[in-house]
């Protein structure tokens, strides 16, 4: 026995097997089955596919001609940009400001983080009331300020803004907490030295905080971009079926719409494959752009 127990890897494999089995059954099997289904004729959930589409790549061909696919991809990419600028950007500003106050840091942390713990569905319903056409909070405020005509915040021209604002607002606190933690890890001695050298607050932020937060910002950016690909519940609650005029579809909501609402299950499977491909490609791009640095 003796030192041999450290060379024997079999016990580790035994412990890894349940997790592997779990992943294989609940992730990899459905994943590969979904790829197969995207080539099959499947018009009912739960029903077994009996034949291939004619031609077998028909769904992918249809995707090229489906204007809603392009709308959803365009909106998803827009959502990524909004999350990058709106979520991570605002979170950086808030984190830097909170880091520079001496009292109430914990209060702001809690306040900004709070939306994260609320279900996205509940938030969707809440924002539905806020942006309600008749008697919604925003329209009531505008009326109180003298605006005569009601604004339809879900109308075609403005719907995307109405959809993305709550999504952005919800996750600012998440990145804020990560960034504040990153700021806390920066040694006070560095700030002290900068102060002695005569650096102003802005200079300390520009030349100390932001460069030393680089890796944390990269992590936040990667999380924000990949997270934007998965946004579903809040947009679906506020804009079901891509309302209005199917202009608010994201890749996730369009896939759900095709699968659950129109029962075009095989096309939904093909859209799911598109989401995976888009996710992998964008993750690679983001990783390349936001490369972490060694200090």
């Amino acid at each position: 026995m003796g030192a041999n127990i450290y060379r024997n890897k079999k016990p580790a494999l035994v412990f890894l097997f349940p997790a592997f089995l779990f992943m294989a059954v609940l992730l990899y099997y459905p994943f590969f089955k979904n790829i197969l289904n995207s080539f099959m004729h499947l018009k009912q959930l739960g029903a077994a596919a009996t034949k291939f589409n004619t031609p077998w790549y028909a769904n992918y061909e249809e995707m090229l001609h489906d204007p809603h696919v392009w709308t959803s991809v365009k909106n998803t990419i827009l959502m990524m940009l909004v999350t990058l600028v709106g979520q991570v950007g605002i979170a950086i500003v808030l984190a830097l400001m909170v880091d520079n106050i001496s009292r109430g840091k914990q209060f702001f942390r809690t306040v900004f983080f709070f939306p994260i713990v609320i279900s996205a569905t509940a938030l969707g319903l809440m924002f539905n009331l806020i942006f309600l056409y008749d008697k919604g909070m925003v329209n009531q405020l505008l009326q109180a300020l003298g605006k005569q005509k009601l604004t339809d915040w879900k109308a075609e021209g403005i719907a995307l803004v109405t959809m993305m604002a709550p999504v952005m607002w919800q996750y600012v606190g998440f990145y804020f907490v990560i960034l504040v933690t990153g700021l806390n890890n920066i040694s006070d001695e560095l700030y002290e030295a900068a102060r002695i050298d005569g650096a102003t607050t802005l200079q300390r932020v520009r030349y100390l905080s932001i460069p030393l937060l680089h890796n944390v910002i990269c992590t936040c950016s990667i999380l924000a971009v990949t997270g934007a690909l998965k946004v579903f519940d809040l947009p679906w609650v506020m804009f079901p079926k891509g309302m209005p005029l199917k202009t608010t579809f994201l890749t996730g909501t369009y896939m759900y719409y095709q699968t659950m609402e129109t029962k075009n299950v095989d096309y939904g499977a093909a859209l799911a494959v598109l989401i995976v491909v888009l996710g992998v490609v964008l993750a690679k791009v983001v990783n390349a752009v936001f490369k972490e640095k060694d200090y």
Binding site: A47, A155, E156, A159, P244, L245
Partner: protein, 456 residues
């Protein structure tokens, strides 16, 4: 197709007679028939848990009746109900269909008996009434079999109906009065309707409430009906170019015209049905096309506490009325859409479960008993052989108005969208905003739906 039309014609005749009788119940001699609500011995002693899903939820007129009936059945039998009822919208239908496909169907369901039930009937997942009667001869024995709609799949009867439905036009009389418009009558035409809409619009109200991007169903049905006659309404066109297909296209274009005239609310493409309905009940719009179940929604909106009937504001309720959808061509305003479109199904899963079988049968017999059906049917129709006499005093003012309206109906035609069901409807239902804004031609949308229908 001929079979469907004959069935529809039979139903129409019988239902109109039944409804007329209901509206004049005080003058019609009726005897209370055998009560099927008695408990079967096997079910009365159990503590069985049944999963039941129905459309008696939300604003449905019978939501409270259903809750009361379930509570009473539970206390009588000691059994319990896990209720998964929800509003009867497309999401609900999709959920039920998916539940069947994934093997998680309920034990009993009150569901549509048209094409929406085709998939689970084809899969043999519900039990025909005759098969149940072979073991329980009293099952649905109080129903007139001729009025129980047969499945479009195999012609067998599966669903025991409780209450019939009708679709008509609700009006907010306060808005009409403010706009100087009289209540539409039995000879109301589409031209008169447009003239009235113009007056209402000029008075600063929305003439028609409808969320075209969410629930265009009622306008879809009547707009097509207005280009047809009761005899042809249940025919599905072969393509958009044939005679019937052209009536569908004309119907879609009629809705487009109303949209272009600005008769729908400004947010009709982005609003939900709840939002536009609120405009109607709050006196901001005049006309609402909807079904008999909406009577309950309007009554609820007139209560300070929607769950407490004692808080009903009768004066407010009196401001609402219900009348005929304007007619056009061969369709008279008094030719209505409706029928016994839903019923109680017992699933094969419950039937094959010895612990649940008797309880499921007993539950359906209880819910479709001579005592309960009239409560649910109210101003609608039923398939009872011997419906007990109805006392109009038990109904509220809107229900009485509905009875008066139904008494003047000249025909009751089935719902064509119950036959034209599933993803074939997507191009004209979900696609309605594109049609009315002219981004998709009505002809193309109809053609796309029909192609899917015929390829199913």
């Amino acid at each position: 197709m001929m079979k469907k039309r004959m069935m529809a014609a039979m139903l129409t005749g019988a239902m109109v007679l039944s409804m007329t009788a209901c509206g004049n119940s005080g003058n019609t001699a009726r005897t209370t028939g055998a009560d099927n609500g008695g408990l079967t011995p096997a079910a009365s002693t159990g503590s069985v848990e049944l999963v039941v899903t129905t459309t008696f939820a939300g604003e449905d007129t019978n939501a409270q009746n259903y809750k009361d009936a379930v509570r009473e059945w539970e206390s009588k039998t000691g059994n319990s109900i896990v209720d998964t009822s929800a509003n009867a919208d497309e999401t609900f239908k999709a959920r039920v269909t998916t539940d069947f496909e994934t093997g998680s169907e309920p034990d009993v369901l009150f569901f549509f008996n048209g094409a929406d039930s085709n998939s689970f009937i084809e899969a043999g997942k519900v039990v025909p009434i005759d098969e149940i009667r072979a073991e329980y001869p009293d099952y649905a024995a109080n129903m007139n079999d001729d009025l129980i709609p047969a499945s479009l799949v195999d012609g067998k009867r599966y669903a025991v109906p409780a209450n019939g439905i009708w679709e008509a036009m609700f009006v907010n009389m306060e808005v009409l009065e403010a706009a100087g418009v009289a209540k539409p009558g039995a000879d109301y035409t589409m031209d008169q309707f447009k003239a009235d809409c113009e007056k209402i619009k000029e008075a600063g109200y929305a003439p028609i409430v409808a969320a075209l991007g969410n629930i265009p169903h009622y306008w879809w049905e009547f707009a097509i009906f207005n280009n047809q006659s009761p005899e042809t309404h249940l025919e599905i066109p072969e393509n958009a170019g044939d005679e019937i297909g052209q009536t569908w296209v004309a119907g879609m274009n009629d809705i487009k015209e109303l949209y272009e005239l600005g008769y729908f609310p400004e947010n009709t493409l982005s609003a939900t049905d709840d939002e536009t309905f609120a405009m109607f009940t709050e006196g901001k719009a005049a006309f609402l096309l909807d079904g008999s179940w909406k009577v309950g929604g309007i009554v609820g909106a007139c209560q300070s506490d929607p769950n407490d009937p004692a808080t009903l504001d009768l004066e407010k309720l009196d401001k609402f009325d219900v009348t005929y959808v304007p007619g056009q061509g061969d369709r008279k305003a008094t030719d209505l859409i409706g029928g016994l479109t839903s019923g109680y199904f017992i699933t094969r899963k419950a039937w094959d479960d010895p612990a649940k079988k008797a309880a499921a049968v007993d539950f359906v017999m209880y819910m479709t008993s001579d005592e309960l059906v009239p409560k649910f049917a109210q101003h609608g129709a039923s398939a009872l052989k011997n419906a007990p006499e109805v006392d109009p005093a038990q109904f509220n003012i809107l229900q009485v108005k509905a009875m008066d309206m139904m008494a003047g109906a000249t025909s009751l035609t089935g719902v064509v969208q119950d036959i034209f069901s599933g993803d074939c409807r997507v191009s004209t239902f979900d696609g309605m905003p594109e049609i009315v804004t002219g981004r998709v031609a009505a002809e193309d949308a109809v053609a796309e739906g029909l192609e899917l229908y015929h390829n199913q």
